[in-house]
């Protein structure tokens, strides 16, 4: 892999990613009044995070079983109203404990 290619590759990725991010925020200043578009944009974050989490989370830990328990833990704690950091840390801990056991049994 030569350096010129690598530099061009990094610049290409960076510029495209940045332009996608800056175009609407920088050049779109009007407030949208159309109730359908407003509603659509409000739903975007939830739809994005849902689609990114399921099913990928099940394959994030090397074992569907530990991932499943991790997801269940996160759901349970979130429903209980726990904050982002504690939900994340406790879920990791649950997965770590299960993985330690599982990887012993199934090498």
């Amino acid at each position: 892999m030569n350096n010129l290619y690598l530099i061009c590759a990094v610049i290409t990725m960076a510029l495209i990613t940045y332009f996608i991010r800056l175009l609407p925020l920088t050049f779109f200043r009007k407030k949208i009044t159309n109730p359908y578009i407003k509603s659509f944009l409000n739903f975007v974050p939830y739809a994005v995070l849902g689609a990114m989490t399921i099913p990928d989370a099940f394959f994030a830990t090397g074992s569907i079983i530990s991932a499943g328990f991790g997801i269940a833990t996160a759901l349970f704690l979130s429903l209980k109203g726990k904050g982002l950091l504690s939900v994340s840390l406790i879920s990791c801990l649950v997965v770590l404990i299960l993985n330690s056991i599982l990887f012993q049994i199934l090498p």
Binding site: I20, P35, Y46, A74, N99
Partner: protein
């Protein structure tokens, strides 16, 4: 200043989540033959997970710049929707330079956390929110690339759930309060699952899957629950 500190505080969990993911990115980049410096440079200039992982795959196989550009565009196209969504939340008088600076920090997590804020979004808060995640993302990449094997495999794998647990913690509280939000999440998850497992869609990249799920689910939401004036 209080806005900045608030942003920093809200950014801390994102930063911690990023360290584990970017750690994995650092490992992967280093194994793919990249130097520590170029791995960190990619993270510092791109600040995105899926796009970088796909980018490394293409760079490793010496893919053309066009292929790289196209994949980056498709996978990161969702930021266009997020950026548009954010443009509605800032004061119209917010200047161009400030907007250019904030644009750099639009990621799934920073976006999600900023959107759950009830108080009006400000430039200072958003910059505060970006700060730690950028450090965590670049720092984690450095750690992963530099010491590709400090953590035992079991620990590294277990950290993989961190980012998803965070996503869940972000979307569940609003879903509990709002039936429409819950329905939209369920629709999006259903579409994403179908696109992942039905053989017909096997060729679809992760980026496309997220874009399609988001557009359909949010579209259904807009149609079923248009927002009344003043909401």
């Amino acid at each position: 200043m209080r806005e900045y500190t608030k942003g920093i505080k809200d950014g801390l969990p994102i930063c911690l989540g990023y360290i584990s993911v970017s750690f994995a990115f650092g490992l992967m980049a280093k194994r793919g033959g990249l130097s520590v410096l170029s791995s960190v440079l990619i993270s510092l200039t791109n600040l995105t997970s899926a796009g970088q992982f796909a980018g490394i795959e293409i760079i490793k196989s010496n893919g053309t710049l066009f292929e790289l550009a196209f994949a980056t565009l498709i996978i990161n196209l969702r930021y266009l929707l997020m950026s548009l969504s954010l443009s509605q939340r800032f004061d119209e008088k917010t200047g161009t330079l400030k907007r250019l600076a904030m644009s750099f920090g639009i990621t799934d997590e920073i976006f999600a956390v900023s959107m759950q804020r009830i108080a009006p979004l400000t430039f200072t808060y958003f910059i505060g929110l970006m700060t730690l995640p950028i450090i965590g993302w670049s720092g984690g990449t450095f750690l992963g690339a530099f010491a590709s094997s400090v953590l035992p495999e079991t620990v590294r794998l277990s950290l993989g759930i961190a980012i998803y647990a965070m996503f869940i913690a972000i979307i569940i509280p609003p879903a509990k309060k709002s039936r429409p939000i819950l329905n939209i999440i369920l629709i999006s998850v259903a579409i994403s699952t179908i696109l992942s497992f039905v053989p017909l869609f096997a060729g679809l990249s992760g980026g496309w899957r997220i874009i399609i799920s988001t557009i359909i689910a949010s579209g259904v939401g807009a149609f079923l629950y248009p927002q009344k004036e003043g909401e």
